[in-house]
């Protein structure tokens, strides 16, 4: 039989935990609102930019316009070195949010390892970085603090190396892996191949054939270059924004579950406490009665 005092102490501790988790949930809900707003506004721009890039890529693929041989638009069949960039949170306590991203990265790593492709792994977010450090996987670049407070400038700097190395031919592909926001209760894992621009989904249909690509600027290469830079930079920045929104929604959910669990636990502990109390009273009564009986 558990001691009454022990149970009481347990109840107190669990309800304290409950208070903490509830507070964390409220904080996440507030932060989520802001992050969600930002993500929603940026999503439109990001979608449009992707659309423009995809269209250009598709037209280049279908027409082989003007002998453009920009690396960014050509599928590379046998990559030798690839960049994988992951985005995780800086903090834990958000359910499977970080581990899902890490698992996806590991899967991608394994795939490339099988093909004997060298991988340069870069990451944003303390949790992912810690995981790969612990597993002694070398990180090419890592940034802490960017995933909780996305900043366009810092994110541009972070991705710059990958863009330049890709253009110089040092690497053959760039992937971004992150957990994005879908709605209040679901996150969606994204494994995006941002360079070279994915043209596989682009069928050379009639519409594409009929509409000609005409690039106004004298220097086509320069225009594409500058466009691709913006595209990659914005993709990176958008992943960060999307990831923050997802992180908060994941944490909100995790903390909601924790609060509910704590509530359940307090309930069952209360039942246990009452049982123990009743047992104690019964024992005491029996003692008194038997004492009286023996006096007769």
């Amino acid at each position: 039989m558990a001691n009454l005092k022990d149970i009481q102490r347990k109840i107190k501790s669990v309800s304290n935990t409950q208070k903490t988790t509830r507070a964390m949930k409220l904080v996440s809900t507030a932060k989520l609102r802001r992050a969600e707003e930002l993500a929603k506004r940026s999503r439109l721009y990001s979608d449009k930019l992707n659309q423009v890039i995809a269209e250009i890529a598709g037209r280049i693929k279908c027409h082989k316009v003007g002998g453009i041989d920009n690396r960014c638009f050509i599928d590379i069949d046998n990559p030798k070195t690839v960049d994988i960039i992951f985005v995780t949170a800086d903090k834990g306590l958000c359910g499977g949010f970080n581990i899902q991203t890490i698992k996806a990265v590991n899967k991608l790593l394994a795939e490339y390892k099988e093909k004997n492709v060298k991988v340069r792994l870069s990451g944003v977010g303390k949790k992912g970085i810690e995981f790969f450090k612990y597993n002694e996987t070398e990180l090419f670049e890592s940034v802490v603090g960017l995933s909780s407070k996305p900043d366009k400038k810092a994110s541009d700097e972070f991705i710059l190396n990958s863009i330049e190395d890709f253009k110089d031919g040092k690497i053959d592909a760039v992937h971004i892996v992150y957990n994005g926001y879908k709605n209040m209760i679901t996150q969606e894992l994204h494994v995006n191949k941002i360079l070279p621009v994915d043209t596989e989904q682009f069928e050379c249909g009639e519409a594409e054939k009929s509409s000609m690509l005409e690039i106004e600027a004298q220097d086509e290469e320069m225009m594409l270059d500058s466009l691709v830079n913006r595209y990659v930079e914005y993709s990176m920045y958008y992943s960060l924004i999307d990831s923050v929104a997802a992180e908060h929604s994941a944490r909100m959910q995790a903390m909601d579950a924790a609060t509910n669990n704590a509530k359940e636990m307090v309930k069952s502990l209360n039942v246990e406490f009452n049982k123990a109390r009743q047992a104690a009273i019964t024992t005491e009564l029996i003692e008194i009665i038997s004492g009286v009986e023996s006096m007769k």
Partner: protein, 130 residues
């Protein structure tokens, strides 16, 4: 006169989405106008003023700092990084918009000569409104 669909998108959301009669854009090779039925074209935009002729023939000006435009037969999508629309109900509204537009112009670096032209255009656009 035919109209086409015009969208101006910034990282902060959509700032213009409507039918338009024509639009004048500050391309890298110089200004160019787009009417309905224009052939497909994709090009970069420089810092400058986008003049939109709306269906009621009112011209609205939007200052941009960098952008990309994708024109096809029925639609024009302008993607810009930073934009300020020069519009307002009253004089003070227009003045305020002009103020923030000038700030955006200032933030644009390394296009010394262009800034003067852009500023002049801004003043012009504001004058028309007043």
């Amino acid at each position: 006169m035919d109209t086409f669909k015009l969208e101006i998108v910034t990282p902060n959301g959509l700032i213009f989405e409507d039918e338009a009669l024509s639009v004048t854009l500050p391309g890298q090779e110089g200004e160019f106008g787009v009417l309905a039925g224009h052939s497909s074209i994709s090009t970069l935009l420089e810092a400058g003023v986008v003049d939109i002729e709306k269906t009621d023939k009112v011209v609205e000006s939007v200052l941009i700092n960098w952008g990309v435009v994708n024109v096809d037969e029925e639609k024009v999508v302008v993607l810009v990084e930073g934009a300020v629309a020069i519009r307002g109900e009253s004089e003070s509204d227009v003045a305020r918009a002009l103020e923030s537009a000038k700030e955006l112009v200032k933030s644009i670096e390394d296009s010394g000569a262009a800034i003067a032209t852009v500023s002049a255009k801004l003043e012009n656009a504001a004058q028309k409104l007043l």
